[in-house]
Each structure stands twice: as structure tokens, then as C-alpha cells.
Amino acid sequence: MNEPLLVAKQLGKRYPRSADARARLAAFARILVGAPYPQWEVLKDISFTVAPGQSLGIIGENGAGKSTLLKLVCGVLEPSSGSVERRGRIGALLELGAGFDPERTGRENIAISASLQGWSAAQVTERFDDIAAFADIGRYLDEPVKHYSSGMVVRLGFAIIAAVKPDLLITDEVLAVGDESFQKKCIRWIEDYLEGGGTLLLVSHSMYHVQKLCKQALWLRDGRVQAYGDVFDVTQDYLNFHERKSRSESGGDVDPHYAGDHYRIVAVRLDGDDSTVPKSVPQGGGLGLEVDVYSPDGRAPSLGLGVLREDGAAVFGSTSEIDGGKPVALDAHHFRFTVRFDELDLLPGGYFFRLHALDPECVRLFDAVERGFTIRGQARDWGLVRLPHRWS
């Protein structure tokens, strides 16, 4: 019973290196006689197992080999080396509209996809209403799929998979396409499915989805396993890697060792964390901010502080001078400002702090450092903030 549904052993995949007409012909001849031809390695030595009830997230940068890995797992592609063992019914949602015929209506495509999953005509009829209800695309059901938006294609695809209830569900970045409400619906469905003992293999760029749905994660980097284990460990490593990468690319937005002629921010911590990964804060939750500023002449500097929404809309701004906030001297040249927002009653979405080091007179502005944070919540009202109000 507890035999794994999926065992990948030292899986490797190579793709043809170049594809102009001559190279293709040469490759054809070489394959025919069993000789090697120019290939590049997309995946190498990938081993993992997925036991029933397990949920594994596969993460990695674009081109790391995630989609290729899923295709090997589903049996769409043959591995160049190693092996995949599969047990049970696998439901795969690879890319947009896999297996859909764009010329046919959604209704017809439901029947086609269901047949591809091995259903009989009677089974299709029986579950048709469930599928249509889940997809919830109204009159488009009788339109050719080529008229669908990408979101509608995903809706239909997911609705079919949801009706199939496979032993192992494999999805590739499809949650990113549907609209907010459909994403939530899918996530709720996957959560129920996992609670009911379902098994999941999810590829996503959204660490939020991976952490929410998966217990384990596998980080693919340049076609190899960079990390494999508990979802929080692996995703944290992954995010840290990206942070280091973006820091090294931008030369680092704050230089902790700065010792020049200007006032300058040298460290920013949100709730004690100096990473640049946006912090997640529940709606109405609190957030503490610590900013270390370098002062070239040893006088206590000022700090400018703004809160903006992701799109740049200003929410709030102030300075330490206006508020009467005083920094603590850390040493002769370093001062620390500590600000705490006890109740961030911003509406859910992405925001960021914009911080400026100012001279003690609060006249000259020297730099700008930004740190993002995300407000999580289920609010249905809209705008930037929830203004206190009463209905009568």
C-alpha cells in the first residue's frame, strides 16, 4: 500500500544541441546507426521518490529543467539515462491546454481529455456537470477552445483533472494563469485532495504556493538537484540564493562597510531580518523596522520613511524629524533608528518601504533604499487602507 507512486532513479535527459536542417539530417543518420550525436544535458542524476500522500514541490529558475523533469515523470519524454517507475493513476496538467483541440468546443474537449485519461463515454456523461460547474466558464463551454483566454483554458483543464481525482496529481505552473478566485478554488481543491490522501507533484515559481501545498521540495539548478528535503528549508535556501544573486548583480543596495563623505543607510532589518525577500505580514499585523545609518561627521542623522504600494502609489510618509524620532548611537559613525508599526491596516497586496538617509537638519537627501513586504488577508474591500467607518 505504501509503495511509492513515483520513483525516479538517476534520471537524465539530453536534448539535441542544434537543429538546422543539416544537423538534423546528420543526427538522423547517427541515431539510425546507433552513434551519439551532439546533445546537451538538460537534466542529470535526478533521484527522488514520491510516496502516497506526499506532496513535493519542484522549484528552480527558468530553464533549470523543471518542465523537462515533469515530462519525464509523466512519460511524455523518454529519459536519456536512469529510470522512472510509476504506479497508480496519474493526472497531469502540463502547460496550457495540453491535449486540447483548439477547433473543438470546450464541451467536446472535455470528452476528449477524459478519454485520454481512460474514461468511458458513460463516465464522461456522468461527471460532465461537475466539470462544467468547476470550470465555470458559462457559455464559452460551447465555443471552440481557440476563442478561450489562457485563464479559461486552465479552468477547463483543471476542472477535468479535479473530476478525474488521480492518485498522483502533477501540475506545471498552471495556478499562475487563472484569476485570483480560480486560483483560490484550485488551491482549496488541492488542499482537500491532499487531506483526502492525494499525492501532489507541483512545479511553481510561487514560493507561497509551494510552501502552502507541499511538505517537501526539490530545487533544480542547471539540471541537477541543488537541494531536496523539507519544503521550508529548501525554499529558504532558494530564496536566499536569489537574494545573494540579486545583491551581487546590483552590487548590493546597501553597503554595510560604507565609510564615505555622505550620510548613508548601511543596514535595514524588517522584524530583525536583513534579507531583501519581502516579508509577509497578516492584515492588521505589526512590523518593526530597524535602520542603521552612517554619519560621516558623527552627528545624529535624520531618516525619511515612506510606505508605498507595489505600483508606486504613496500610502504614507514621514521623517524622524517630523515624528521626533531619535536614533541610538552605535559607535562614532553609526546610528540606529527603530520604528514599529503596531497595526498595519493596509489592504492585502504588495507594498514597500522607501527609506532615505537625511542630514541632521533634514534638508539634504542622500540615498534611497527599498524593502518590500506583503500584506496577507482575505479582504474583499479595496484600495490601500481600511479607513475606520460606521454604517447606520
Binding site: 536534448y15 539535441p16 537543429a19 536542417a21 538534423r24 539530417l25 543526427a27 538522423f28 541515431i31 539510425l32 546507433g34 515530462k71 509523466c74 512519460g75 511524455v76 519524454l77 523518454e78 529519459p79 536519456s80 497531469a92 502540463l94 502547460e95 495540453a98 491535449g99 483541440d101 477547433e103 476528449i112 478519454s115 485520454l116
Partner: protein, 250 residues
């Protein structure tokens, strides 16, 4: 899965037509009318021992099996490239995708054959049904050979798109080199014996002759059947060799 793919292909061929599946019956009748007019009336083509109507019968009994064979190859050839999207997203076997096209061609042309033969029988009345089961074996041989060649050229077509015009040319040449429009007995000696190397000559005759000649020698085209079987083996070997290399080039 194969059955599903065949149904898909058939549906795809007939959907979008106003007359739909009626074409499966109508098209062969129209084609038969053209054959009768062009070959029997205009060219005044004849076969020794048969009159004008007999020639139309001769032609039809050879033309439909040939069409099934040729259409199986020409549509099977592009099956992999046409279904690149499906093959890259769904775990269907490449063999089945090609085979579905070939089977669908045989179903469509087979229906044409079954429509045309009774019509000819009413019209001319000299159809010989005594040995009809013998034709089945030759039909099977045609299917096997068409399937085998389709599988091979479908793989070639993935690697070199030049395959399509080359095969289209070869199929036309092959048709004229096969006794479909003419009786093999009218051929000069050297060409007649060269027909021994054309498996299609045997297979077409294997379908046509038992239905056409009352005293048709019940000899089966064994050599052609063996060639078809060997070709099938070769195509299976080739499909295995190219497994894991075809989708990667699509």
C-alpha cells in the same frame, strides 16, 4: 488509446463539412463516375477479356486498395509533425499517433470500396464473390505495408521536411508502376518480370483478381505478404531505435 486516436482523426476529417460523414459515401461515387468517364470513355482504356464496364470494375477494384495504401502513407507521414503539440504534452505513443492516421485512411477508403463494389455489381453484374475471403489477406498485407512505410517516413519527416515532396513523388511513380490502370499481361516481358519486385503488384492483384475473375487462381501473393511483414518488422525496429529522439526534434 489507438481506437481513440482513430476516432479523433475520422471526426477531424469529416467535421466542418456540411455533409459530414455523407462524404464517405458520396466522394467514392463521384470518383467512380470520373474514372468511368475519363478512362473508359475518353481514353477508351480496356483490359483483355473485359468490356468497357469491365474495365471500370478492374480499375475500381485496384484503385481503392491503392488509395488506402497511399493515403495511409501520405497522411501517416505528417502525423508526428502535425501532432507535435500533443506529443510534447501528453503521454501518447508516437507509434499510435501514426498508426491512427493509417487505420483511418483504410477505414475511409475501405468504406469507399464497400460502396463502389456493390454499385459496380448492380451496373455490370459480373462480380465474382466465390473467393472474396482471399482478398482480406491482401487487404491485411496492404495495411501492414502502408503502416510500416508510414512509420518509417513519419520519423524521417521529423528530421527532414524534404521527406514529404520526395514521398509524394515516389507514391505517384509507384502507382503508375503498379498494374492498377492497366493489366499486367499487356506489359513487355522484362517489365512484367520486374513486377515480381513490386510488392504492391501482388497485393493489388490479391484484392482485385479474386473478385474480378471467376476462375482466378486462388494463389495468394505470398511474397508480397512476406515483404509487408518484413517491412513491419523493420519499422518496429526503427521506432524503437528512435524512441527518445523523435519528440526532441519536433
Amino acid at each position: 488509446m489507438l481506437g481513440f486516436l482513430i476516432r479523433q482523426d475520422l471526426r477531424q476529417r469529416f467535421s466542418g463539412n456540411v455533409l459530414g460523414t455523407a462524404w464517405a459515401v458520396l466522394a467514392p461515387l463521384l470518383q467512380l463516375a470520373v474514372f468511368a468517364l475519363v478512362f473508359a470513355q475518353i481514353f477508351k482504356a480496356r483490359v483483355p477479356g473485359l468490356d468497357e464496364r469491365g474495365y471500370v470494375m478492374f480499375l475500381a477494384l485496384g484503385m481503392w486498395p491503392w488509395s488506402a495504401f497511399a493515403e495511409g502513407i501520405s497522411r501517416g507521414m505528417t502525423a508526428l509533425t502535425d501532432h507535435a503539440g500533443l506529443l510534447n504534452k501528453v503521454a501518447v505513443s508516437a507509434w499510435d499517433v501514426v498508426a491512427a492516421r493509417v487505420f483511418a485512411a483504410f477505414i475511409v477508403q475501405g468504406i469507399g470500396f464497400l460502396v463502389v463494389v456493390p454499385v459496380l455489381w448492380f451496373w455490370q453484374g459480373t462480380l465474382s464473390l466465390a473467393h472474396w475471403p482471399l482478398t482480406l489477406l491482401s487487404w491485411a498485407g496492404l495495411l501492414a505495408l502502408s503502416l510500416a512505410i508510414a512509420q518509417i517516413v513519419a520519423i524521417c519527416h521529423v528530421f527532414a521536411r524534404d521527406t514529404q515532396p520526395i514521398i509524394a513523388y515516389l507514391l505517384t511513380a509507384w502507382m503508375f508502376l503498379t498494374p492498377i490502370l492497366y493489366d499486367p499481361r499487356i506489359l513487355p516481358e522484362w517489365l512484367g518480370s520486374a513486377m515480381g519486385f513490386n510488392p504492391m503488384a501482388g497485393l493489388i492483384a490479391g484484392v482485385r483478381d479474386p473478385l474480378l475473375w471467376k476462375n482466378a487462381a486462388a494463389a495468394l501473393p505470398w511474397t508480397s505478404l512476406l515483404v509487408a511483414l518484413a517491412a513491419l518488422g523493420l519499422s518496429a525496429w526503427m521506432a524503437r531505435r528512435f524512441r527518445g529522439h523523435v519528440r526532441e526534434f519536433l
